[in-house]
Amino acid sequence: MIPTPHVPAWARVLIGLIAGRADREDLLVNLEEGAARLAETQCADAARRWCRSQVLRSLLPLLGRRVTGPGGPAPAVRGVGLDVRYALRSLSASRGFASAVVLMLTLGLAAHTVVYAVVDAMVLRPLPFGDRSSRLVTVHSVHPTLAEDWNDAGVSYPDLVDFRSATTLESLEAVAERDVSVSSGPETERVSAASVTPGLLPMLGVAPVMGRPFALGDAAEPGFEQVILLGHSLWQSLYGADPNVVGKPALLNGRQLTVIGVLPPGFSFPEDQQLYLPYRGRDTAGRGNRGLLAVGLIAAGFSRDQNLGELRALAGDLARRHPDTNRDWSVQTHPIRTYFVSGSDATLMLIAVSALLLLVSANVAGLVVARGLARERELGVRAALGAGRGRLVRLLTVEVLVLAAVSTASAILAARWGLGAFLAWTPEPPPYWAQPGVDWRVTLFASAVAGGVAMLAGLMPALRLTRVEQFRAFSKHTAGLS
């Protein structure tokens, strides 16, 4: 490193990044000399100010030099600009070819984008439960007589209470889905509701945007609850987004309860529930009544296996103590994501549409070859006039890239529509936190895929068409002309 005590570190880094390799060191040496002289004749502060102003005002000219200078991208970019203009002109002369390619690529890319959006939502996108997402598990009862793929049976309330003693769990809560009629004044709606143990929403990191959360004392057996929490969309539809809704009555299945709060927009759990009731199991509930979906938060520092081991030990203990209801019953846990969405199906679909896209690429490549053969004469003339192979390959590839760009834009529009249709068709809509959408990530991915397809369908044929022997044909065609 050059000793430059008067040039601040940030300036050294900036100059290192922006100045060309040939100038970097000399520029720093000179900056240092200028700053050192000022420090000597005036003061250190003046030197610092001068240095800062010099470096900041130098960035633009240095960047310009990097771009337009030798080895910079500008000359190459100018060449590609010419190619794009030429490609547009020559494509507008062969509209049949252009529209066939755009149509094929649009369909292939749109199908790929729709499925990728689903995979992204279900498998790739992080869950909305913050840093605890990876520690959340669903807990299920399993019995050897249950079919192997029936691994999502519920848990009974007394078992749940006993499982709470596990030290590898930070908390264990439960939810039961139910449908209720709810009315405020003249409006009545049939909505999907959830009875939740009071600790569930805090465990998921969800707090009401208005009012208060459930307290332990609110928990009651089904049919005896006194309070409800509203989902955001129900608050809007049933109460017209009334800001003073807290404390207002709600008629639930004909019984009057009090609204104590409104949950954040977008939230619903476990699926599309819009009304929440505080739950406590009946004291008389039997252990055989395994109807609750149990959700646990594994204590920090423990693995899912450690937690499962402890829960199984507890289940074994319960089986000994309550053989009537618990003999041979054990426990299984799933990470919360895999319980709700089957990522493997979506991934299989992605593989299938990727194969489809490969077929599309092969078809487009075929069209490009056919078109290239028809243009043999033109390519031959270009080669004879001194166009190198690289130049010809670029010319042919840029045409496909232009078509791919147009197809990507139309495919993304088609995918937005297609995704809506797909979600309307799917029998079980995914939970709110796995709702697929064509967002910037999906758009970016679709563009990258389109670029790959264009390279495959454009570059391969271009390399093939510009082989030297291809041009022998040209000399044959033109032998009689000279």
Binding site: D26, L59, P61
Partner: protein, 113 residues
């Protein structure tokens, strides 16, 4: 004279500053020379970008000095005009004075410089 050998304003200043400074013609001194003579506070990066362009055109060349006599001291690039550089400078100034001939520039009002 090829088209590439016409020089722009800052290029002209830099070429002239190199002639003035002779053996002392390196980055920060060239910048200072221009500032002292024209009153224009040029960024050192602009001087380097210009020197790079002039080098591309073959109008200047540089020699490296011996490293500065301090620990970790580095060499500096000392710039000089090449023969085409001199010709380009003569050509540009000649063209400028031809264009100026017979033109009466009114002094800027209210400014005595």
């Amino acid at each position: 004279m090829p088209k590439g050998h016409f020089v722009g304003e800052l290029e002209l200043y830099v070429l002239l500053a190199i002639l003035h400074l002779e053996a002392d013609a390196y980055g920060v001194r060239i910048r200072q020379e221009i500032e002292e003579r024209t009153g224009r506070d040029v960024a050192i990066g602009a001087v380097y970008a210009t020197l790079g362009r002039l080098d591309d055109k073959g109008l200047v060349r540089f020699d490296l000095t011996d490293p500065q006599p301090i620990a970790g001291g580095r060499s500096k690039k000392i710039f000089a005009l090449t023969a085409p550089g001199r010709r380009a400078l003569e050509h540009s100034t000649e063209m400028l004075s031809r264009m100026m001939r017979g033109v009466a520039l009114r002094p800027a009002r209210g400014r005595a410089r």
